[in-house]
């Protein structure tokens, strides 16, 4: 366990002494702020119009801003997560430090878990920071609190799931550009995987919806915390860790 923590700690240190983490956090905050302001402005316009129409339009909830906000951030994560995962293994291989890790008295799984924990901590810092925008609503209006919390949980699990998948992809790559590009393509695929579900229909349509992390996080962003979605994300993270583990193991037999 000490080895896992040492690796996680080193990952966090490396993220924050290089510009990558700051770049990702700044980008996430800027885009988050922009979208939040935009949705808030849209909401105000809609509210103003509906008041003018004297009840011609059904009332809308402030929580819809939060839902739309977190949904948009899901797409931003598709682009930012590979930025953080692309260096996880490729840089170790380039620096020769991969040899140090493999020949240290820690298991391959500890190496993978340590790396994921470092990545997870950085992703959660990003998500917590962008979640300060919806929390402003609590101070200046009367939104329902539980959906804000479940939205935060949804985007956090989505970030961790994306992180695990992109990390697994990165573990097979020898250089950062390949790791980043492959991660981006994979996450984009995951993002749109349920798009044809409606046309396809039937069991295949249901399966596509089930394996889509976006559909799984959707309910949480609407304010419903379902055990099924939590189990899905934990499975996705486990799958990512398992694939990374197998990839590092295979490295020895190349």
């Amino acid at each position: 366990m000490k080895g896992v923590l040492a690796i996680a700690r080193r990952e966090i240190l490396s993220y924050f002494v290089s510009p990558i983490a700051y770049l990702a956090i700044t980008g996430f905050l800027l885009l988050g702020g922009y979208f939040f302001f935009w949705y808030l402005a849209e909401f105000n316009t809609y509210l103003f119009r509906s008041q003018q129409m004297m009840g011609g339009v059904q009332s809308i909830s402030l929580n819809q801003i939060v839902e739309a906000y977190y949904r948009t951030l899901s797409l931003v994560l598709v682009f930012l997560v590979p930025l953080l995962t692309m260096r996880l293994f490729a840089e170790e291989k380039r620096n020769g430090t991969f040899e140090l890790l493999i020949t240290s008295p820690v298991s391959v799984f500890s190496i993978v878990l340590g790396k994921f924990l470092g990545l997870a901590a950085t992703l959660l810092i990003m998500v917590i920071l962008v979640s300060t925008f919806p929390s402003f609503l609590i101070f200046y209006a009367n939104p329902e609190i539980p959906p804000i919390f479940s939205g935060f949980l949804g985007i956090s699990l989505l970030a961790l799931g994306f992180g695990a998948v992109a990390m697994a992809v990165a573990s097979f790559a020898e250089n950062q550009v390949v790791a980043g590009t492959a991660g981006l393509v994979t996450l984009l695929l995951f993002y749109v995987i349920s798009a044809p579900a409606e046309n396809v229909g039937g069991v295949l349509g249901e399966t596509l919806r089930y394996i889509s992390p976006i559909d799984q996080s959707d309910e949480m962003m609407k304010g419903v915390i379902s055990l099924k979605s939590i189990i899905y994300f934990l499975s996705l993270i486990s799958l990512g860790l398992f694939l990374s583990f197998r990839s590092v193991e295979l490295e020895r037999y190349r």
Binding site: K2, L5, A6, R9, S18, G96, L100, T103, S104
Partner: protein
């Protein structure tokens, strides 16, 4: 403590990087592992440190096989690869603290200070590894290899690319490590072996061709080496 390499081979498809290497190294011995470029030195060392599994044969460290007891072997060895494995964004102190934790050292602070003292790194402790001179990088590489006070130290070409002053310093450092430990020093610089080592192992085309104590060599090391490459030994 004993390191024993028994008929190991490493095959990549149809190509044998190492075909039959055997030798032993005992406690207190510094073994010079010699061979021309491409002889299979690095592949053999990588098998010794469990980075690569042998295709056949076995290596035991302190009685533990790299095939079945890799975890135990990794606790006993300190390894400096050909390129010092450094994180350029960390300071020397941060880096050595990380390696100490990684290797399960209990008193991290004490271990880091001891390694810094032993490798004369005092003046660069707060410098980023990426900004160090080649000599200092090599010393930090050796410091990480000995930070957990291992029984067996394996060094892959620790003096390559250094200037003469740095070479002398690193050689002195290796000599001081040899007391009470097993040290395997891979190199293709013959005088280095004469100056530092107790025993020489020469490999050529993936096979051991000479394994002798330096005092037992009938001819000079240079002559023995050249003859071994021609196949006269």
């Amino acid at each position: 403590m004993k390191l024993s390499v028994n008929n190991v081979a490493k095959r990549y498809g149809d190509f044998y990087a190492v075909s039959d290497v055997s030798f032993t190294a005992n406690q207190g011995e510094i073994v010079g592992f010699l061979g021309p470029n491409g002889a299979g030195k690095t592949s053999t060392l990588r098998m010794m440190v469990t980075y690569l599994p042998p295709s056949s044969g076995d290596i035991t460290v302190g009685g533990f096989s790299v095939r079945t007891k890799g975890d135990e072997v990794r606790k006993l060895i300190g390894y400096l690869p050909e390129t010092p494995p450094l994180y350029p964004e960390l300071t020397v102190k941060e880096y050595l603290s990380f390696v100490a934790r990684l290797k399960g050292v209990k008193d991290v602070k004490e271990a880091v200070e001891r390694a810094i003292g032993k490798c004369f790194l005092e003046e660069v402790t707060n410098k980023l590894c990426g900004y160090l001179s080649k000599g200092f990088k090599q010393r930090v590489g050796i410091a990480q290899a000995i930070i957990h006070d291992p029984e067996v130290v394996i060094l892959d070409e620790p003096t390559s690319g250094l200037d003469p002053k740095q070479i002398i310093e690193i050689r002195e450092l290796i000599k001081s490590l040899g007391k009470g430990k097993v040290v395997v020093l891979s190199t293709h610089i013959l005088p280095e072996v004469s100056m530092v080592c107790d025993k020489v192992v020469i490999i050529n085309k993936g096979k051991t061709v000479v394994e002798k104590k330096l005092t037992e060599l009938e001819k000079s090391l240079e002559e023995t080496f050249l003859e071994s490459l021609r196949g006269d030994v």
